[in-house]
Symmetry: C2
Subunit: 328 residues, 2 copies
């Protein structure tokens, strides 16, 4: 009886990014029943933003010809910091939003349970449920981008701090009195190994005339030096870009080695645009750093894998996390 009812349920996963939103609809077997992508347009304000989210979900249901009553739950991955219990976005600088009661708004609109979670947590949970870390006991996910996002799934659940997310691997201190980090401290891993930090290194090299391809296609504006450009410049023979990337990956690998010695994960998932553009480089350099510094007794206990779900990881993970919580 329960199975018959359960199989009627639908689940929505929503990935609310600083620039894009991705909404996905699943049936109870987690087959994709629909998908909508939109620009987030955070600058239009909180009310307009919530309306866009609601409209996306409503449209998904309409297209799949499903009534709102069929919704088992909605999961929504958001940039932080968040109040996970109340489902509130406390502050999302990329959207320009503050104190957004997402859970309350969406529960009122759709009449089903809504679970707000951190966007990186959602992505790594997605890879754990459906992707590269499928079935791991302890999955550690690391996504270098503007910062370096991290998350861990431990015994089937997102590992959390008292009030919210944790696994802030980008903020492990590595350079004593190093460069200023976005968090306000100095010398965090992000200051030397995030895509932003590497882009800045590359822009300096371009300015000095050491990266001719970059100088030609992107100039010295680090906002133009994105993952695709970086890959192209390496392919085009900008040797210094290759070296900058390998050094960054090694630094990330050394911090990961420490994390492996602390957490003994069985799977490490690397993802994000830069890793997906240069998977071989990251696997090589991180593999070397891990081989050098992971304790011998842990050295055969883990695998490093590239994320498989791409941009869908967050929405898929958020939906599956909602269901996990509904059924818990």
């Amino acid at each position: 009886m329960k199975d018959v009812l359960a199989s009627d349920r639908a689940w929505v996963g929503f990935d609310l990014g600083g620039t894009k939103m991705n909404a996905m609809l699943f049936n109870d077997e987690f087959e994709v029943r629909g998908r909508r992508r939109k620009k987030s347009r955070g600058s239009e304000g909180v009310e307009a933003g919530i309306e866009r989210i609601v409209a996306s979900i409503a449209k998904l249901l309409e297209e799949a010809q499903l009534p709102r009553e069929s919704l088992g739950g909605i999961g929504i991955g958001c940039p932080g910091p968040l109040d996970l219990e109340e489902g509130v976005i406390l502050e999302a600088p990329n959207l320009g939003w503050k104190n957004v009661p997402l859970k309350k708004s969406l529960e009122k609109e759709f009449g089903c349970p809504v679970f707000v979670c951190n966007d990186v947590d959602a992505g790594v949970y997605g890879e754990y449920r459906f992707g590269a870390a499928d079935g791991a006991r302890t999955a550690l996910g690391v996504f270098p981008g503007t910062g370096i996002g991290g998350a861990m799934i431990y015994e089937g659940k997102i590992f959390r701090g008292k009030t919210g997310s944790c696994l802030e691997i980008g903020h492990v201190p590595v350079v004593p009195d190093g460069a200023l980090c976005g968090c306000g401290r100095r010398g965090c891993l992000e200051t030397i190994a995030s895509r932003l930090a590497l882009s800045a290194e590359i822009a300096k090299a371009a300015y000095r005339g050491q990266a001719p391809y970059i100088l030609r296609v992107a100039g010295t504006d680090l906002a133009n030096i994105r993952s695709g450009t970086i890959k192209e410049s390496i392919d085009a023979g900008d040797k210094i870009v290759d070296e900058i990337l390998r050094n960054g990956a090694q630094q990330l690998g050394l911090v990961l080695a420490g994390a492996v010695n602390l957490l003994a994960p069985d799977v490490i998932v690397l993802g994000g645009g830069l890793v997906e553009a240069l998977p071989k480089l990251f696997l090589e350099e991180i593999g070397k750093a891990l081989a050098k510094q992971v304790m011998p007794s842990f050295s055969k206990s883990y695998e490093v894998r590239i994320a498989r779900l791409g941009d869908d990881a967050g929405a898929m993970g958020a939906a599956a996390w909602a269901r996990h919580n509904v059924e818990a």
Copy 2:
């Protein structure tokens, strides 16, 4: 009915150290009903060792006039590496033992469930249940000694890797191509911040004539430079010893800052002989390092505390962990 039965149960906690063993007997309210300490005498062999353990527990029961049937369970904290499922000590270099089926031997002898766990895990679980980390959501314990032991209690359970313990904070890499570590890698935290590493620094200072008190009472043999001697030399005015200790504590603090950014613990427990000899020094220097490198958003979420249970932490934790597992 269940309560009446439950209150009859007794629990044994056993801390098997490289040099000493500590056995404690508890009633179901975890009041101490007996205690026995002995030398471990690992060199007498595995069989003699198991006999000593069995005899200690039997004597505890006899003295408390309790029949073996009253035992709810036995928990035993051991040096690793261990096979936690099978309850086997795979290798204990300090005892000279290999492949010791402790769980099987003790279950056969006493007819109750036996749980083997890592000694540091047991100690930190003890502090979590009865000591400095009482009731924490996430408790991170760090014990600098010959190495630097670490353990974490997360949501009421010992945090574990796939096959055994983890939280090997002593093996987080900190000095690129640094000194050789006992684990076989180079530059691990242990190589600069364990009591052994600090004793070696102090012995060098004594050799150079910079630590007169140490030179007088301990010479340059680092085996003689133990926690009590270190404290006395600082009190006696050996300034360089104070500086060596403060630097070591800062290095430990920086690695702890990274661990806080990863794990968001609410309580950090510092313990072991050296910390207990110099609690103020460790709290000061670790506090400074944490204030400098913990992310601002986590900076009010944790407390650093000194361990409270001393040498009983392991036996108390092992007994409580046995009961946790019996009731799970």
